[in-house]
């Protein structure tokens, strides 16, 4: 598996990272190097091995259904660049 220049641009766009044209080649090399490194894992034969989801034998803990949080709108919007009446304000997005 390897990435080309177009894939680099696409990944950048999906992640909303601006990548200028002269940066593309560098990213392409770096990403391919990382993928090549990870690729080595495929040399191991894992047929018949259960995928591991946790390093210790744990099950997903579940919470009782009760309201224990919330009720602090001013804290929620405290870091927002812009807010009004405890709404976040963002540049207009309309479908």
């Amino acid at each position: 598996m390897s990435v080309d220049a177009d894939t680099v641009r696409r990944i950048g766009h999906l992640a909303r990272i601006r990548i200028s044209d002269d940066e593309v080649a560098a990213y392409e090399g770096e990403l391919n190097a990382i993928l090549g490194f990870v690729e080595q894992l495929s040399e191991v034969d894992v047929s018949g091995v259960e995928p591991m989801t946790s390093v210790t034998p744990m099950v997903l803990r579940r919470r009782a259904d009760g309201v224990t949080d919330g009720g602090y709108p001013e804290k929620v919007v405290a870091n927002a660049p812009l807010s009004e009446d405890n709404f976040f304000m963002v540049p207009k997005v309309v479908e």
Binding site: T53, S54, P73, F88
Partner: protein, 494 residues
């Protein structure tokens, strides 16, 4: 995934085009808000209509370092729903991240289930009246987070974001592409809503957005290859679903008949114009880059967990309908009307218990529901209680009042209240079955109308006029059957 066509084309649903008949193929993804106190992965409230961002915890706002902990009740509700859809329950399911950017999605991803949903294949039975019963396949049901809400009309160049809904648990219920007409699609939505309401797993309130449908529509030659589909997003009423499907099918047929091709795209339905329109295409919008959420272990439970939930499941509409037909001898149609709403079914059952089921169904459906609909009153707020209506039914069954008087009595109970038996007694509404009294009146009428008596011998239809006279004299209280018999005897008919 290969799609299996389970349906036989029904010419009744074909759409005539310039070049021949067409058939619709419809599948639905219904988002149903799980009924729970708290959100899917946080302890903040799900209550509707609260001030902006007041039902928001730091988890819902995706503050750094916050971790999701799943709500046990949401898991139970999903399993209950799966059981109600006669579906396969997956004892192990996995939460994935669905990645996209939007201002109402603070995490930058929605926690959803992709490859391993909590519920697998199931079915919903649709009762299509004279067309019989149709089984609609359910592909899957999975749990996921709802997004927040953007408001665009508060400011000229800014959108306002409220995260109260962000993180509320949704069940996405995906049907197979088994629906073949807008009527079937509407019946499916209604039935699904009824099932969810019976189960108590979603309030089914489409106006408040607790239930919304994404509708996939394509057209094809009857029984032919499936065509390219378009997805109509976020339809929030059963009626709009029907309109959107009709418009969209016609639009696609027109394109195909002009030699065009259908672009697979997402569309929006505009209730004002009754049309669907293309959403501004977001290129790569569908590259969600799903991967298992590293913050959450797989969700696992055992058979005992499922069995316990199954044991406490309420009676569902299909079973209730079958039981009503069996125990109360009512028609299939009446049963389907009664079970469509659990409160209506319960009301009927209180009236029918120990009484004539058919008569009870008739009074509940025609008189009570008719009157409730006219007033826009819910059955739970009915001014006539089940006991009172049962009392009226008793009086009819015992022959103490006629059907006509019963309607007057119903009006009195509706507007004034009171015990029907007492009212009949107090207001002298009792039916006169005393033949002596009726005979006396009949004799008077015969004596007073010799012309009519002469005519009725040739025109037996005139009997009705005599019946009318007797009823007039008795204020409608004479037993109609007794009146008929006495009149026929005295007039020498038959």
């Amino acid at each position: 995934m290969s799609i299996v066509d389970t349906r036989t084309p029904n010419p009744k649903y074909f759409i005539a085009g310039a070049t021949g008949d067409w058939e619709m193929v419809i599948g639905m993804e219904v988002h149903a808000q799980v009924t729970s106190e708290a959100k899917l992965f946080s302890g903040s409230s799900t209550e509707f209509g609260r001030p902006p961002n007041s039902n928001v915890s730091f988890v819902d706002a995706a503050m750094p370092g916050m971790l999701p902990v799943i709500n046990d009740e949401c898991v139970r509700q999903a399993v209950r729903t799966g059981l109600g859809l006669k579906a396969k329950i997956n004892k192990r399911s996995v939460f994935d991240r669905k990645n996209y950017f939007y201002p109402d999605l603070p995490q930058g991803y929605q926690i959803s289930q992709y490859k391993d949903p909590i519920v697998g294949e199931g079915k919903v039975l649709l009762d299509l009246g004279e067309d019989g019963e149709v089984e609609i396949g359910i592909e899957r049901l999975h749990l996921e987070q709802d997004a927040g809400k953007s408001i665009h009309d508060q400011h000229p160049n800014m959108s306002f974001v409220d995260l109260n809904r962000s993180g509320v648990a949704l069940m996405e219920i995906v049907s197979k592409p088994d629906l073949r007409s807008s009527d079937e699609a509407k019946a499916y939505l209604s039935k699904l809503r009824t099932i969810l309401r019976y189960l108590g797993t979603c309030d089914g309130n489409m106006e408040q957005g607790s239930m919304r449908a994404d509708i996939n529509v394509s057209v094809r030659r009857p029984g032919g290859e499936f065509g390219t589909r378009c997805e109509i997003k976020n339809v929030n009423s059963v009626r709009f679903a029907g309109q959107a499907i009709e418009y969209e099918a016609r639009r696609q047929i027109d394109i195909l008949e002009d030699g065009g091709v259908i672009d697979q795209e997402t569309r929006l339905f505009d209730p004002k114009s009754g049309q669907t329109r293309s959403m501004r295409s977001k290129e790569e919008a569908h590259d969600y880059r799903y991967f298992p959420d590293p913050d959450l272990l797989p969700l696992e439970f055992d058979d005992a967990f499922i069995d316990e939930l199954a044991a406490h499941l309420p009676e569902l509409p299909d079973e209730k309908s079958a039981r009503f037909i069996e125990s109360y001898g009512i028609s299939h149609y009446d049963a389907s009307v009664l079970v469509a709403d659990r409160d209506s079914a319960d009301f009927f059952e209180s009236v029918a218990k120990g009484r004539d089921g058919k008569l009870a169904a008739n009074w509940v459906i025609n008189e009570l529901f008719g009157r409730l609909n006219k007033d826009g009153t819910a059955v739970t707020d009915s001014p006539v209680s089940a006991d009172q209506l049962g009392g009226i039914v008793d009086l009819i069954s015992k022959g103490e009042i006629s059907g006509k008087i019963a309607k007057d009595l119903f009006e009195i109970v509706w507007s004034e209240g009171g015990d029907p038996a007492k009212l009949v007694e107090e207001r002298g509404m009792k039916q006169v079955s005393d033949t002596g009294a009726i005979e006396k009146i009949v004799d008077e009428i015969i004596a007073g109308n010799p012309d009519q008596v002469e005519k009725v011998k040739d025109k037996p239809g005139l009997l009705g006029w005599f019946v009318g006279q007797v009823m007039k004299q008795t204020g409608g209280k004479a037993n109609p059957q007794a009146v008929n018999e006495i009149l026929k005897a005295k007039l020498g008919l038959e």
